[in-house]
């Protein structure tokens, strides 16, 4: 470890690379990362609370906040140790300041501000969605804006027009549940447990996506918004009617049919947006972007339209601090800077 440390330090000094510490605590992942020049990840420590929240069938904000507080300092130590950096090496601290659970966000923000004050390091607040999009800059070194982005996770479902690193416009959002939320709720209804996304993905592989016809909700003509609560209710009604009839629920078929419904709408709207905005690249981000069927269908649809698709590897799809460090780097380069009054914004608009 010592050798690696000094070796890295030398290289950094030689190359004069810019060291960013990213901090993420907007939901149930406590993460700290060290990134060089915005794109080269030296460490990306993610402490997940999935096991803690499993007993409750979903993320409990109060419990998430309590765990963030207890975890964050050792996660920071691990990230610095793995990267082989000391406090004196760090040029910038980037922290998620919204959207997210306010009690969870504030642990990352309070810690980031304390680090910034103690070591006199510049501070930048990062929008969580901007972070998710930036995960693609880490995964694909050649990728630069502009492009169309689909941000799809347990907390968000947005189609975003990305014009530049710090310039983007939301074209469509969910009007009720986020896609990942619908996955979690449906998984609970058919008895798969929590978290629902990976479990539905897994069971759907064994099922028939045409077995049950669930609603495809496109809303008004031309709208790029989403609505997933209707699909969730259809699944619930179907399951109840099966139960009342004393029939066994075909779990794999329900998973596959539900997933097909969400995927079809999401792919059509995203590709449609890229085509109408004359973009030849689509970027996917967020936890649900790890869904294998969504990736497959998006790839297929993009191919037909001559669009190039970018997806981060699964570890960069989930909430992580490397993506926050990356977004912070580009925001700081463009003159973005925050002071010690930085606050948490649970509903921060993009």
């Amino acid at each position: 470890m010592l050798l690696r440390k000094s070796g890295l330090h030398e290289r950094k000094m030689k190359n004069g690379k810019f060291v960013t510490m990213g901090i993420e605590s907007s939901c149930d992942e406590t993460s700290v990362s060290i990134v060089l020049d915005g794109r080269e990840v030296l460490s990306n420590i993610i402490s997940s609370q999935i096991k803690v929240h499993k007993a409750f069938g979903g993320v409990v904000p109060e419990i998430a906040s309590r765990h963030h507080l207890e975890n964050i300092n050792s996660v920071t130590d691990s990230a610095m140790e793995e990267a082989g950096v000391s406090w004196e090496d760090i040029d910038l601290i980037g922290v998620t300041y919204g959207p997210g659970l306010v009690g969870a966000l504030l642990i990352g923000i309070a810690s980031a501000k304390a680090y910034s004050l103690a070591k006199n390091i510049p501070l930048v607040g990062v929008h969580h969605i901007q972070g998710h999009i930036s995960a693609n800059y880490i995964a694909h070194p050649e990728l630069e804006p502009p492009f169309t982005a689909l941000v799809i996770s347990g907390g968000h479902t947005n189609i975003v027009e990305v014009e530049d690193y710090n310039e983007c416009r939301v074209l469509g959002s969910t009007r009720d549940d986020a896609a990942g939320e619908a996955f979690d709720k449906v998984a609970r209804v058919i008895g798969l447990g929590y978290p629902g996304g990976p479990l539905i993905d897994k069971y759907a592989k064994e099922g028939n996506p045409q077995a049950i016809e669930f609603k495809r909700v496109y809303l008004e003509k031309g709208s790029l918004d989403f609505s997933f609560s209707g699909i969730k209710t259809s699944v619930l009604n179907y399951v109840n009617s099966m139960k009342q009839a004393g029939k066994e629920i075909p779990v794999a078929d329900v998973a596959a049919s539900f997933q097909a419904s969400v995927t079809e709408v999401t792919v059509n709207k995203t590709v449609g947006a890229a085509v109408s905005m004359k973009k030849d690249r689509i970027v996917m981000a967020g936890g649900v972007a790890a869904n294998s069927e969504l990736r497959r269908q998006m790839q297929e649809a993009c191919k037909k339209k001559g669009i190039k698709l970018f997806c981060p590897p699964p570890v960069l799809c989930t909430d992580n601090a490397a993506m926050i460090a990356c977004a912070a780097y580009y925001k700081y380069k463009a003159g973005g800077k925050d002071d010690l009054t930085l606050d948490a914004f649970p509903n921060l608009p993009l």
């Binding site: 419990i63 906040s65 507080l69 207890e70 504030l106 309070a110 680090y115 070591k119 009054t341």
Partner: protein, 273 residues
């Protein structure tokens, strides 16, 4: 030796620095900004006012709770991160006990009560206690000041709290009171606003029972202050009660709602919602 003390558990946030001579400087929030926005700024200001560098802070003390869960977490996570980056030890200061320092001239029993919602309070009862320490050799004896915990700090139903208080005070009345003397009892904290009628009722009943209490409500410094946190922190420091920042934990005095409900559900097995 400089201790930085941080108080964010109540409605007003504050930061203070105390040294071994008990010289204190304090900054309080103007209430315009929330604690997350204001506390790091206050720390920055007080360090600049009092010290030449933040590295001159030797120990950092956090008001550990009870109080607002969010408020406690803002203070505790700020202190943990500051101490981690500066490489300094921390002190966990029990918030209810700090009230023995709020009214320095008051000699009686200090009863801080915080509104804990769900018709409960976080409360305790404390008194400054002078302990005479007899030395084994020679005739010199020393006086040491300690805090006596008369009612242990916890979440209570207000009735339960007042019952415990009368129980403990009954014994106290017998022991050390002359006929003409009244036992001084003073209430502090944001629980007064909601529960004052209940306390008055209780006080009347006590008087009817012949208890000689003089009950007052704090007019000066009725709420948490970093000054009082720093005073208790200095005593805890002198007792060697510093820990690493990783060991500093909030003292919520209550489980998370979801945890409580899950446990209840597990107790009454089979009851689904």
């Amino acid at each position: 030796m400089n201790i930085l003390a941080v108080e964010t558990t109540g409605a007003h946030a504050s930061a203070a620095i105390i040294n071994e001579k008990e010289e204190i400087t304090e900054i309080r929030g103007d209430g315009v900004l929330n604690h997350l926005q204001s506390i790091t700024v206050m720390i920055d200001e007080i360090v600049k006012e009092r010290l030449s560098s933040i590295d001159d802070v030797d120990v950092i003390a956090a008001s550990e709770g009870p109080g607002s869960f969010t408020g406690i977490r803002i203070g505790v996570s700020t202190v943990r991160a500051l101490a981690q980056a500066l490489g300094k030890p921390v002190i966990a200061v029990p918030t209810l006990q700090t009230f023995v320092f709020n009214n320095p001239d008051f000699e009686g029993i200090v009863c801080p009560i915080f509104d804990a919602r769900r018709s409960e309070i976080y409360g305790g009862a404390y008194a400054k206690e002078i302990i005479h320490v007899e030395k084994e050799h020679g005739d010199d004896s020393e006086n040491e000041e300690a805090i006596e915990e008369i009612v242990v700090g916890a979440a209570y139903d207000i009735g339960e709290y007042l019952d415990r208080l009368s129980q403990e005070l009954r014994e106290r009345c017998r022991e050390d009171m002359s006929e003409s003397e009244l036992l001084q009892i003073r209430f502090f904290g944001d629980g007064i606003e909601k529960y004052r009628p209940r306390i008055e009722e209780w006080a009347d009943a006590q008087r009817e029972l012949g208890r000689k209490y003089d009950i007052t409500y704090a007019e000066e410094e009725p709420f948490q202050t970093a000054t009082s946190v720093s005073k208790l922190a200095l005593r805890l420091y002198n007792e060697g009660k510093t820990v690493s920042p990783y060991e500093l934990r909030p003292n919520y005095m209550r489980k998370a709602e979801a945890e409580r409900k899950l446990e209840e559900a597990q107790k009454t097995k089979g009851s689904e919602r």
